[in-house]
Amino acid sequence: MSEARRLEAQLLGVLARPPRWYPFIVTLLAGVVAWAFYAWTVQYRIGLGVTGMHNRVPWGLYIINFVFLIGISHAGTLVSAILRITAAEWRRPITRMAEVITVVALMTGALMVMVDMGRPDRLLYLLRYGFGHLSSPILWDVLSVATYLTGSLIYLYIPLIPDLAMLRDRLGPKVPGWQQWLYRTLAMGWRGTPRQRARLERALTVMALLIIPIAVSVHTVVSFVFSMTLRVGWHSSIFGPYFVVGAIFSGIAGIITAMAVFRRIYRLEAWITEEHFQKLGWLLLALNLIYLYFTFSEYLTMGYQPDDAEAALLRLLFIGPYGKIFWPMVLGGLVAPALLVMVPSVPALRSLRTVPVLRPVPIALTAAGLLTTVLLARGMPQAAILPAWLASWETLRWPLLGLGALLILSLVPVLQARRVASLVTASVLVNIGMWLKRYLIVVPSLAVAQTPFGAITYRPTWVEYSIIGGTFAGFALLYLVFSRLFPIVSLWEVREAEDSAIREPADVGTRPYVAPAGGRT
C-alpha cells in the first residue's frame, strides 16, 4: 500500500470512529466554554463595570486577545497560499492544518470585539452609521476582518472538495446520516472530471493570489487602529509592518504547535516529518530575527524622543511594573526561541556531546542543591549551617551563573537529538511571548498618564479571565471538531505528490481525487 493510501486509511478511520479520549476532551473544552458564556452573561447583565477596564484603560484582555488571534490567523492562509504559489512540495501535509487555524482564529478573534463592546446590539450603530463614514480605521478593521474571514472560509473549502467527495464515497454508512448528507452536499458533485479539475485549479489559484494581500491588509489595519491615535507608544509609522511581521511570526509558531499536537494524537509521524518542522523552523527564525530588529528599532526610536510621556512609557516597560512582563517577553519569547531554533543546527556544537563535564542532570542537581542551601541558610535566624558570607547571593552569584551557562551548553546535545521537541518548545514560547507583547502594546500605553493624573492601573477580573479562557477552549474545541468531521491533512494533495513522483515529468499535473464510476454525487 502506498504512503498516501495508508494516510487515507488512517484518517478515514479517525473520522469513522473517533479516538477514545475524544468525548472527554470535547466535554472538558465545552465546559470551559460554557463557564465563559456564563461570565459573559454576568458582564451583559451588569455591564462592563465587572471588568477591570475603566475610562483611563478602556482596552484590556479582550482587545489583547483580538490582536493576538488575528495575528495567529495569519498562520494559515498566508503561509499556505505562499507555499502553494511557490509550489513548495513539502507544504502538502500541513496546508489544511494551517488553513483551519486561520478560520478558527478569525472567528474567535472577531468575537472578542463584540465582547469588548459590552452590548452586541451596538453593532447596529456600526451598520447604520459606520459605513457612510469610512474614514475611521475601526471600520476598515471591520471590513478587512470580514473580508479575510470570508476569503479564508472559501480558501479552506475549495481544496476540501475532492476530500469531501472521497469521504462521501468511502465512509458511506460508516457515519451517521447527517454526516453523509454533509459530505454529499459539500462535495458539490465532485467526480474529478477534467472540467471540474480545471475549475478547482482556477478557483484555488485566484484565491491563493488574492488572500495574500488581504491577509497583509488585515493586520496592517489592526495596527492602524493603534497608530492613528496620538497615544504614546502607538503613534508610529513602523506599526503596520511591525504588526504584519508579528502576525506571521506568531502564526508560524501556531502551525508548528498544531502540527505537533495532531501528529501525536492522530499518529501522523510518517507524513508530518522532522523536515516539515525544520523548514517551518527556519521560517520562524527568519521572522524572529526581523521581529527582534523591529522591536529594537521601536524602543530605540522611542528612547530618543524628548517627550516626557515616551520616557514614562519606557520606564514603565524597562524598570517599572511592566518590566515583569517585558523582560520575559524579550528573553523568553524572542531570544530563547531564536536560540532553540539556531543552536541545534550548528554542526560545531555537536562535539559538546563528547565533553564529559557537560551532563545536564548533574549540573542541574548541583545548581538546585546550591540554591536550596542558600535559601535554607537565609531563612534561618542565624547562619546555623553556613557562615553568612558563604550563604550570600554575592558569594554564590558567579558560581550559579556559571552553572546556568554550563546547563545551557549541556542541553545543546539534547536539543540536537530532539529537534522536533526543541522547535515545538520554541513555538510555544513564541506564542506566549507574542501574547505578552500584545499586552505590552495595549495596556502600558494606556496606563501612561497623558492627562494630569497619577499612575493608572489595570487589573483584569475573573470575568475577563473566564472569557479569555473560554476563547482559547473554544478555539481548541472548534479545531478538534473540524478534525473529527474532515481530514486534517489534505489527502488529495498528498496523493497528487505521490502520483507526480511516479509519473513522467511531462504528465505531472493536478490530479485531485477522482470518484470511482458509480460513485454517488
Partner: protein, 296 residues
C-alpha cells in the same frame, strides 16, 4: 430741572425695592471646602434647593513634601472642578442645586489620601423648608450656528432668562439633535451649565445624512424656575465634491470611494470563485473520463 436726577435715582431705588419684593430672592450661597489627604473639611455641605451655589475647593496639602493635586467630581450634577494643586490652590464651581437630596462628591485624581476623598456629600435641603417660593416662568432662546464645511463642528448656544429678562445662572441645559436610528427621535448631543449671562454653549459634530438638522435645547426646570424648551434648525453645508477634503477627517472623500472600489473588487472576485465552485456539479454524461473506466 434740578430735581430731575433726584427723581431718576428715587425711581431706580423704588424699582429696586419693588423688584426685591416681587421677584423671588436668589441669593448666592458660598461654601468653602478644604481638600486634603485627610479628607474633605467639611465633609457635608448643606445648600438649599433652587439656590445658586458657589463651592470653593481649597488645596489643603501644603504640608506635604510633594504636590498632591485633586480634581473634584460632583455626581448627579455631572460637574467636575478644575484641578487644585499648589500652583492653583483655590477653584470655584457654580451651579444651581436643582433637586433636593444627597449628592456625592469625590476626588477623581489618583492622589495621596485618595480613599479618604471618596465620600463628600452635598446635602440639598428642600426649598419648602426655606419657605415656599413660586416658580418663575423662563424663556429659552436657541441659536444654532452650523459649520462652514462638512464634518466640522456646529455650535449650539442657549440663553435662559426669567420672564422679566433676568439671566438664570448655574442651571443645566440639555442639547439634542433629531436623529433616526431604529425610529426618529431626539438624541442628546451634550449639556452645559449656564454662565452669569444665562448662556449655555456646546460645540458638536452633527451626525446623520440630513442637511437640515432640527436641534433643541431643554431646561427641565427646578423648584424656582419653570421648564423651557427652544428649537432651531442647523442648515449644514452640502457634501463636498468628490475630491474635496472633509474638515477634521484625514482621508478625503475620494479615499473612501477608492476603498469601496477595492473592497468591491475583492468581493466580486469571491463571487467569481464561488461561481466556479457552484458550477462544479455536472451531469454524468459530461464525464468522459468516468465513462472510459470499466465498471467495478
Amino acid at each position: 430741572m434740578k430735581r430731575a436726577p433726584l427723581m431718576v435715582v428715587a425711581a431706580g431705588a423704588m424699582a429696586l425695592v419693588l423688584s426685591l419684593l416681587v421677584l423671588p430672592a436668589r441669593a448666592l450661597e458660598r461654601v468653602r471646602v478644604v481638600v486634603s489627604e485627610r479628607g474633605f473639611d467639611p465633609p457635608v455641605v448643606e445648600v438649599t434647593e433652587g439656590e445658586l451655589v458657589e463651592i470653593t475647593f481649597v488645596y489643603g496639602d501644603s504640608h506635604l513634601p510633594q504636590d498632591n493635586p485633586h480634581v473634584i467630581f460632583i455626581e448627579g450634577l455631572r460637574l467636575e472642578s478644575p484641578q487644585i494643586s499648589r500652583a492653583r490652590p483655590e477653584v470655584a464651581v457654580r451651579f444651581t442645586a436643582e433637586q433636593s437630596g444627597r449628592l456625592l462628591f469625590k476626588c477623581t485624581a489618583y492622589c495621596t489620601g485618595h480613599d479618604r476623598l471618596q465620600a463628600g456629600y452635598l446635602s440639598v435641603r428642600p426649598a419648602s423648608a426655606a419657605g415656599p417660593v413660586p416658580a418663575v416662568a423662563t424663556v429659552l432662546q436657541l441659536l444654532a450656528a452650523p459649520p462652514d464645511v462638512p464634518g466640522a463642528k456646529a455650535a449650539l448656544r442657549a440663553q435662559l432668562s426669567s420672564d422679566d429678562g433676568q439671566p438664570v445662572e448655574g442651571v443645566l441645559v440639555r442639547f439634542e439633535q433629531q436623529a433616526a436610528l431604529v425610529k426618529t427621535g431626539w438624541a442628546p448631543v451634550g449639556s452645559a451649565r449656564t454662565d452669569p449671562r444665562g448662556v449655555a454653549l456646546i460645540e458638536y459634530a452633527p451626525f446623520g445624512d440630513a442637511l437640515r438638522v432640527p436641534a433643541r435645547a431643554v431646561f427641565e426646570g427646578n423648584v424656582r424656575y419653570q421648564p423651557a424648551e427652544a428649537r432651531a434648525v442647523l442648515d449644514l453645508p452640502a457634501l463636498p465634491s468628490w475630491w474635496a477634503p472633509v474638515a477634521e477627517v484625514r482621508v478625503p472623500v475620494v479615499g473612501t470611494w477608492l476603498l469601496w472600489l477595492v473592497v468591491s473588487a475583492v468581493w466580486l472576485t469571491f463571487a467569481y470563485v464561488a461561481y466556479q465552485v457552484f458550477t462544479l456539479p455536472e451531469p454524468r454524461a459530461a464525464a468522459p473520463e468516468l465513462r472510459r473506466r470499466p465498471p467495478r
